[in-house]
Each structure stands twice: as structure tokens, then as C-alpha cells.
């Protein structure tokens, strides 16, 4: 996947002018925000469960090495294999090896953001193995040759007319005159096309929402059932999971499950929460004969003990992006890599470097909605601020902005000068624009006036008004 994060501003400008995208993004509010609010309101213990969920993950992160060792031991006890992948290339090699040993021609895939992170599809294709995405949204974007634009609704940027066109282009074996106007007919077509692929696949790759240390279990949470067909039908099941997915016990998972679906889609529970432990047992009539877990680090252990550790609590529900005014305006592709929205703005610079991902933490109004809905109480705005500071410290901020910020900081430290300066500017702008009411263009403020008019200042500065109010109230008290 080509990283375009450095071009966030350009991509955003294009996105704002893209009528199809803007229409599709309108579904986010309808599809997610109200549903989450209702689900949270219907469970009086929701806020307390958020606290519990946060505590569980904090505890895990402080003992991550020990829980990983416990988890590995349990997987091995049940006949599964654990492969440790320090980086993306390691994970790609491990997965390709397993597929080659299985003589795999086709590989079905459940939805996994880590699979996007390591770009496994491209790697399998280059080596003559066909990867087939089976989540409906992932399938749609695979046909379109696109990346996901949302971590739980990968095709949220696509309208149904576009899906229809993609299906007609890709499913040439079906009658061209068929009716696909109704979304139900699109779903049925995907179901029947993919059913054959499920049954034919040699290897199934899924992600994992959780790994349970107590039992050596991997868990996937889905609505469609595609993840299950991916992992029970082929002879080999590969679980691709990052190291921070560990939770201690089944009880701990139950706590987090109570906030996961509510925060994501507003369901009390997703339809399928599936616990997989090792390969099929001697008495099992179905299930995979081989069970592999690829544990991916890829920069996460570097976040431990830093100001970004809290990000490792993330359970990938997507609530932060659903509630983000910037994400809603520009869509996920503007962010230029795998993880969009506020969680992506924090995670991307950690994983691909601040040089490439440093723009993203600037794409925030700091309104704080992301933190207020995060089930794991991750202080996203605070961490975006950390990145801005790092970007500034490392001189990655453009010169003009740096000089402006330094000038502003110097002025702010000299209040008398600051007040005098702002009085002067306000008065001048007021005089120049007194007849116009607003400015259509203004030197040094092109970023503002390009998209909207700047109202002409009226009267006094805030400081002057404040001083006047205090004077008046004192007069009032004295009388």
C-alpha cells in the first residue's frame, strides 16, 4: 500500500470536492452516532464498564511479556503454533511459508487491519497465491483496488450505485440483465459468489479482536459470519494478531465485549463472537487441521513506557472516527495509510514515522469528541498534541508556520505588547472594512478567506471589553 499521508492536505482538498464521497460520508452519522448513543444510554453500567475495560488493558500492558508467554504456552498445549514477527516483512514471510507448505492456491480472508498494515495481499499475489477478501465491505474495495477507508466499515466511502457497477464489471459470468438495484440483491450476489470461494480455499486468514492468555484462544467479533467460514472450512487457519490484543481471562474478555459492539455499531453484541483454540480435536467432525498464530509487533513494543502507551489499549471499534468532524468531512483515504481518524492520527506516526505521518495529528479541531466516546478512555487529543510537539521539535513544521508560532509565543509572553498589537490590528481592520461588513480576501489570511469570508471586527478587543466589564461591575457593587 502506497503511503500518501504526507499529502493529507492535498487529499483532503480533493475529498471535499468529491460529490460521491460527500454523499457516502453522510451515512456515517445516520449509521453510527445515534446508534452508539442509544446503546450506551440503554446500559446504566456503560461508563463503569469503560473504566473496567481500561483497567484490564492497562494491567495487561504492564505485564505484557508474561501474558504473551502464558498465551504461547497454552496455544502450544492445544496443538497450535505461535510465530513471532518483529516486523511486517517477518509476518509476510511466515504467512507465505505456511501457505506454500499447504500448497495453497487460494486464501480466504476475514477482515483484519493488521493484514492491511503488513500488505499481505500484495505479497501473496506476487507469489502466485490468490487472496480473497470475504467481508462484504472488504470484498467491495478489493474489487475496486482500494484500501479500506474505515476500520470497521471499509467501504463506507462507496455508494450503492458504485457497488452495482463494480459487481457488473467483476461478475461477468452472471446474466448482464439481472436486477441489482436493491441492496439486498447486491448482498445475495456477493453471498453466492463468495460461498464457492469459501468452500474451495486452502488456507483461511483471520485477524483477532482478542487473544486470551488463560486458554490460548483467539477471538473474532463479526456480523456477517464470513470470518467463521474463513476459519472453519479450509485445512489451515492462520490468525494474524498484534501483541497488544492479549487479555488475561474469559471474564476479562466479557467485560470488554460489553463496550466493544456498543461503541462500534450500537449493537449490544455483534452477531458472532467466536473463540478458537488450537486445531480440530480428534473427535471434531469439522474445523481446521492446522492452527497458526502470527504475533506481530511492528513497532508496538516501542510504544510501551512512552507517552503513546495508552494507544495500545485501542480495541478498533471506530467510535473515534465516527465522531470526528475532520474524518466525517474528508473520509478515511485522505489519511493516506491504514488507520484513519483520530486513532489513525496517533498510531500512524508511530508505525510509519513522524516524517511521513506527522501531518495527521494536525488534522484535529481538538473538540475532544473522540476521547469522550472512546470505550478504552484513550486520551487521543493529548497524544495528538504530543505528536505536534515532536513535529515542531524535529523541525518538520514548515518554516512560515514555525516563524509565525515563535512570533506569537513571544508576543504572548509580553502581554502589554500583545494587547497593544491586537488593539492596533483590530482598529485598522475595523477602519478598512467598516463599509464592507466582511473581507473576501486578506493578506496572510488566505487559508481562511479561500473558503469563507472574515467578518470585519467591530468595536473593541476582548481584553478591552473584559476590562470595561470589570470596571462596570465594581461601580455597580460600590453603588
Amino acid at each position: 500500500m502506497q503511503i500518501t499521508s504526507p499529502y493529507f492536505k492535498e487529499k483532503s482538498s480533493e475529498a471535499l470536492k468529491d460529490a460521491n464521497l460527500q454523499k457516502a460520508m453522510g451515512n456515517v452519522e445516520r449509521g453510527f452516532i445515534d446508534k452508539r448513543a442509544n446503546a450506551a444510554a440503554n446500559l446504566p453500567e456503560f461508563e463503569a464498564l469503560r473504566d473496567r475495560a481500561k483497567e484490564i488493558k492497562d494491567h495487561v500492558l504492564d505485564h505484557l511479556d508474561l501474558y504473551l508467554e502464558n498465551y504461547e504456552e497454552k496455544v502450544q498445549e492445544t496443538g497450535g503454533r505461535v510465530h513471532w514477527a518483529a516486523g511486517a516483512q517477518d509476518a509476510r514471510n511466515i504467512i507465505l511459508d505456511i501457505c506454500k507448505r499447504a500448497n495453497a492456491k487460494t486464501v480466504t480472508k476475514g477482515k483484519s487491519m493488521i493484514a492491511e498494515e503488513i500488505a499481505i495481499n500484495e505479497h501473496l499475489e506476487r507469489n502466485g497465491i490468490e487472496p480473497i477478501e470475504t467481508d462484504l465491505g472488504e470484498y467491495i474495495i478489493q474489487l475496486r483496488g482500494e484500501a479500506p477507508s474505515h476500520i470497521i466499515a471499509p467501504a463506507v466511502h462507496v455508494n450503492k450505485e458504485e457497488v452495482e457497477a463494480d459487481f457488473r464489471r467483476s461478475h461477468r459470468h452472471l446474466p448482464p440483465g439481472r436486477n441489482l438495484e436493491d441492496p439486498t440483491s447486491l448482498l445475495s450476489e456477493a453471498r453466492s459468489v463468495l460461498r464457492d470461494k469459501f468452500l474451495a480455499a486452502d488456507v483461511g486468514i483471520t485477524g483477532a479482536n482478542f487473544l486470551v492468555a488463560e486458554t490460548g484462544t483467539s477471538i473474532i467479533v463479526t456480523n456477517e459470519g464470513n470470518g467463521d467460514l474463513t476459519q472453519i472450512l479450509p485445512r489451515v487457519h492462520i490468525v494474524l494478531a498484534s501483541i497488544e490484543k492479549i487479555v488475561p481471562t474469559l471474564e476479562d474478555v466479557s467485560q470488554i465485549l460489553r463496550v466493544l459492539a456498543r461503541s462500534a455499531t450500537g449493537q449490544d453484541m455483534s452477531v458472532y463472537t467466536t473463540f478458537s483454540t488450537g486445531p480440530r480435536r480428534a473427535e471434531d467432525p469439522d474445523g481446521p487441521e492446522e492452527y497458526h498464530v502470527v504475533l506481530l509487533d511492528n513497532g508496538r513494543s516501542d510504544m510501551l513506557g512512552t507517552e503513546f502507551q495508552d494507544m495500545l489499549r485501542c480495541i478498533r471499534c471506530g467510535a473515534c472516527m465516527n465522531h470526528c468532524p475532520v474524518y466525517n468531512a474528508v473520509g478515511g483515504h485522505s489519511y493516506g495509510w491504514v488507520y484513519p481518524g483520530p486513532m489513525g492520527a496517533v498510531l500512524t506516526p508511530t508505525l510509519i514515522g513522524v516524517e511521513k505521518g506527522g501531518h495527521l495529528p494536525n488534522a484535529s479541531t481538538f473538540c475532544g469528541r473522540c476521547e469522550s466516546v472512546c470505550p478504552m478512555r484513550i486520551p487521543l487529543p493529548k497524544m495528538m498534541r504530543h505528536w505536534r510537539e515532536k513535529e515542531f521539535e524535529r523541525h518538520l513544521t514548515p518554516d512560515g508556520m514555525r516563524r509565525g508560532l515563535l512570533l506569537w509565543a513571544w508576543m504572548a509572553k509580553h502581554p502589554k505588547l500583545y494587547h497593544a498589537g491586537s488593539r492596533l490590528v483590530i482598529n485598522m481592520l475595523g477602519m478598512i472594512g467598516s463599509r464592507k461588513g466582511s473581507f473576501k480576501r486578506l493578506p496572510l489570511a488566505g487559508g481562511w478567506t479561500e473558503h469563507r469570508d472574515l467578518p470585519v471586527p467591530e468595536g473593541q478587543t476582548f481584553q478591552q471589553q473584559w476590562a470595561a466589564r470589570r470596571r462596570n461591575s465594581k461601580v455597580g457593587q460600590a453603588a
Binding site: 473496567r52 501474558y67 518483529a86 511486517a88 488475561p248 474469559l250 452477531v271 467432525p285 510501551l304 514515522g353
Partner: protein, 235 residues
């Protein structure tokens, strides 16, 4: 793919040792002498967290809540007096929906007690699904009232493929196996398999399969069953 540094594009020998070493270097308080004991304690005690109030009620109310919640997520419910009423109730359900008289099920002893000779004109077979079964029948060992969730274990009694491949999934559960919360099911699993052990697959199922991936509009029947019918046996 472009990565932060060239090094991460190279294979790392002994990933396990290098990952664990890095975690130990960066984790807070790595020298804390009670770390190991704390982890062992949590894994052995598996402390129960917060159980929502809605789950904590008398058993008959839990069964009612289970049924209500399941219907809310588009499952359908039939309450029957005894397992022997199952064949007739199932035949009625299938007839009402114009479904074929063909059922695939596992070897669960509870389902065998139903007496399937009551349906002589039905094609009833046992074993996993290979994809062409219109109706699958399973036995859930537990149910959680708080969200109307069925909990099923894999094995020859209940092949996992039956939960996903047939278009219609029928699940039988004893009312006495329904409890308020998920945690009660884990206690049952531990009693059967021993602490720290699980069957190959445990499926928590909450309603029939669905997708919201086309314009965030909820559609039933994605890749799994289009319909989920639950028979609650009031034993």
C-alpha cells in the same frame, strides 16, 4: 511497502527473543518482584468483573429477557414444554416458511431424545455441513439473557459448520441453561473441560447474520444464516 526504516523490511532472526526483550526493556516497573505472582494469581482466580443489573434477576425473568433480547436482534423464538415436542414444533416452523423437510444435525444426546420417528416424511441426517443443507439444527449449552446470546461448543455433538452454512439455523436450548450473563457460561465450560481449557470452537451467536457494509443500511443474511430460530425447552 514503505516502512519507517530499512531494517523493518528485513527479516528479524529470533523474533520471539527480540520482541520479549524489547517489551521487558520498555514495560513500566520491569523489576517489580510481584509481577509474576500477580499474573499467576489473575489467571488462576479469573476474577469476575461488573455484571450489568439487567442480568441479575430471578431465573424465570432471565428466560423472559433472553427471549425478548433475541427477538430484538431478529431471531425468532418458540417455547416448548419438553424436548419431545421439538419435532412437531420444528415441522411447523419449516412448513410456515415453505422450507424443505430436510434437517442436518449433530449427535447431541439431547437432540436425539426428541424422537425423530415422529416425522417419517422428513430427511434427517447427522454430521457436519458441506454447504448444501437448507436447515441446520444445533444444541446450545448456554444462553446469556443480557443480550439474547446463544453459546455453542464444537464437537461431533454440534459441528460448527452447521452454525454457518445452512440458510436457516435452528438452535435448541434448555431454559435451565439460560442465565443472565456470559460469565456463567465460562463457569460451565470450566466444569466440563477443566480450568484453562476450551473446546476447539465456542460460538456466541446473537441473531442471524447481517451486514451494514452497503451504505450503512442493515441487511440480514450476509454469509451466515438468513434466519435464526430458537426453541427454548421449558424443562
Amino acid at each position: 511497502m514503505n516502512r519507517r526504516s530499512a531494517s523493518s523490511n528485513r527479516a528479524t532472526p529470533n523474533g520471539r527473543a527480540s520482541i520479549l526483550a524489547k517489551i521487558r526493556k520498555n514495560v513500566r516497573n520491569p523489576e517489580d518482584p510481584v509481577r509474576v505472582a500477580r499474573v499467576a494469581d489473575r489467571l488462576s482466580r479469573s476474577p469476575v468483573g461488573l455484571i450489568p443489573a439487567r442480568a441479575r434477576k430471578p431465573h424465570d425473568k432471565q428466560v423472559d429477557l433472553f427471549c425478548e433480547q433475541a427477538v430484538k436482534v431478529q431471531a425468532s423464538i418458540t417455547r416448548i414444554k419438553s424436548i419431545e415436542d421439538l419435532p412437531t414444533a420444528l415441522a411447523e416452523y419449516l412448513r410456515d416458511r415453505n422450507l424443505p423437510k430436510k434437517v442436518r444435525m449433530g449427535n447431541a444426546p439431547f437432540l436425539k431424545q426428541a424422537g425423530w420417528d415422529k416425522l417419517p416424511d422428513f430427511e434427517i441426517s447427522n454430521g457436519p455441513s458441506v454447504g448444501d443443507d437448507p436447515v441446520g439444527l444445533s444444541h446450545a449449552f448456554a444462553g446469556a439473557a443480557e443480550s439474547g446470546t446463544l453459546i455453542l461448543e464444537s464437537g461431533s455433538d454440534n459441528p460448527t459448520t452447521l452454525n454457518f452454512l445452512p440458510e436457516t439455523h435452528c438452535v435448541v436450548i434448555r431454559a435451565s441453561d439460560i442465565s443472565g450473563d456470559y460469565e456463567t457460561a465460562w463457569t460451565a465450560v470450566r466444569e466440563k473441560y477443566g480450568k484453562g481449557n476450551m473446546p476447539r470452537t465456542v460460538n456466541m451467536i446473537t441473531g442471524p447474520s447481517r451486514s451494514g457494509d452497503i451504505e450503512q443500511t442493515l441487511l440480514l443474511g450476509a454469509h451466515g444464516p438468513r434466519a435464526l430460530q430458537i426453541f427454548v425447552v421449558e424443562d
